[in-house]
Symmetry: C2
Subunit: 368 residues, 2 copies
Amino acid sequence: MTIIAPGGRIGILGGGQLGRMLAAAAAELGFTCHIYCPDADAPAMDVAAAGTRAAYEDAEALARFADSVDVVTYEFENVPAETARILAEHAPVRPGVAALATAQDRSVEKNFLASHGIATAPFADVDDERSLAAAIEAIGTPAILKTRRFGYDGKGQAKIATPSEARAAFDAIGRAPAILEGFVPFEREISVVVARGLDGKTAAYDPVENVHKHHILDRTFAPAMLAPTLADDARAIAAKIVDELDYVGVMGVEMFVLPEGTAPRLLVNEVAPRVHNSGHWTQDACLVSQFEQHIRAICGWPLGDPKRHSDAVMTNLIGGDADRWLQIAAEGDTALHLYGKAEARPGRKMGHATRLYPLGTLRPDTSR
Amino acid sequence: MTIIAPGGRIGILGGGQLGRMLAAAAAELGFTCHIYCPDADAPAMDVAAAGTRAAYEDAEALARFADSVDVVTYEFENVPAETARILAEHAPVRPGVAALATAQDRSVEKNFLASHGIATAPFADVDDERSLAAAIEAIGTPAILKTRRFGYDGKGQAKIATPSEARAAFDAIGRAPAILEGFVPFEREISVVVARGLDGKTAAYDPVENVHKHHILDRTFAPAMLAPTLADDARAIAAKIVDELDYVGVMGVEMFVLPEGTAPRLLVNEVAPRVHNSGHWTQDACLVSQFEQHIRAICGWPLGDPKRHSDAVMTNLIGGDADRWLQIAAEGDTALHLYGKAEARPGRKMGHATRLYPLGTLRPDTSR
């Protein structure tokens, strides 16, 4: 097991806000970062020592990039398999290629979870109209059709209220390979941000509750209002997933909480093999943020203590929300984080604000 | 009063750890930074969008630098007057040139404080042997001879235990223009990190206690163990100083605390017109760090709330101390900050570690 010492260089694939916050956290520990990103507007480059602007298919640029760093990580799960393979020939890639392959495909992911006894919503593969009909027969409606790959923030999804809507839904997702997921009558959505070190140790932040708006995360409440045993169960599920994947780094595990009297109470919705939007509150309410935790993990350092010193509510600033920066900056107990993006397009994550509350005082108002 | 909006560019003179931490804080608020520094080993450049490596006397490079940014600030008080003058022709310089001039010269600084009724140790100007003799006559011994300019971390100082040592002390400081300062029997050294916004509002962090080793700050205890009225007095003195200077930005104000029964109890030792080593604990124990506070002030933003959510002890990692990074990273409740400096020379500040304690539980052990 190689530990990467301060002064080492970390390669980050992707130049968005997650890469930016990873780079800032890495610098705090004495590392320098090299960002690899095809986009012109790559805010992570503004806080990194080096940058390469090239396509994810540019084998030569990828090799040069990986040769210049001690470890490669990424801010998004849709790293092409061939990209990951080339990088791995030149530097350790963490989290590893197997975790990427699992998380990139909803069918593979759900089958992986099921094979390890981790409950999910019922699901079936859909490749064509015939398998779609069979899936609806097996799972029933209402259900959601989701592309196996490249879905995020509600993209690549279509609801099927009755069997007659099936074909239109399949058209809506471009007839891409998909899974059909049964609707589950969940009470709330929670997530656990968990880390696993090179030494196999795990550390999970407290489960948080997430509220979405237009399929995009709107607010995260830390902690989620869960019975202590249920919170322990959520942490244990997240730890089991990273253990079974022999994972190194931070992972976001989204779960549904079902009503009391149901068994099991927790279903895993999806996993993200990276730092996660629902973990941004850790920057301000924990001594070691999810970004530092990820850097610690991929560098072979001991994981930091995930405990929180404050309760917190994180609110995403989407599109024009960030125009309120001056008002937010004047609010007490509130930390403002802006991503330095050039253009505030609708639906684009421009920043977030985290409001702190004394430990143990938060009673979420999820009415909004 | 112009407010600089996110997306604006901040120019920072100096590429060391303070510039680095300022740049990181600026990025969090959506700004980009341009570092100006003559040194090859300038860790601030690693987290900034742009950098200029040029001498502080290079008028053309300075003008180009200042033209490229919305505001200029600095990480060290010894900015040459001519440098500041050139910059100010091209961009607002904050804190302003007057504050720099006052803080660069111990005699000017002490006279400024005295003229506003702020107590200091007794002092007298020393320009030659004759004025040295007169100063010793007036102030007595023991006393300390300090160069008027360019002193820091105990450099440019010589102790005079008895009048017979005066000449050797004057030689030791290179016969530079100096002041003689009377010894004060202080109980402890404290500091207040205070900020003043463009709108004239001030905000002071809690006074902290500082323990030095070999004339370099070793540890800071937040808060200092002071009676509440004395802590209020310390904050009020710091606020008065920034008000009287019409200052914009963060300032570190070092004070001596004299034993009970003495009046006044607080003497100002010196002021630093910049973010201050004794304010590093605010990164981890406050929602708004001194670095963010400085950026808010110089950009015309409302100041953040300086309250702390935890008690803290900050320990500087000097020279080889930083070799212990792996042990420190494994300590609970401890945040490690490394500056990314290439070479760990003796006496060089390489990083710091801040240990948090629940609010109200810290009882400093200053025995070390």
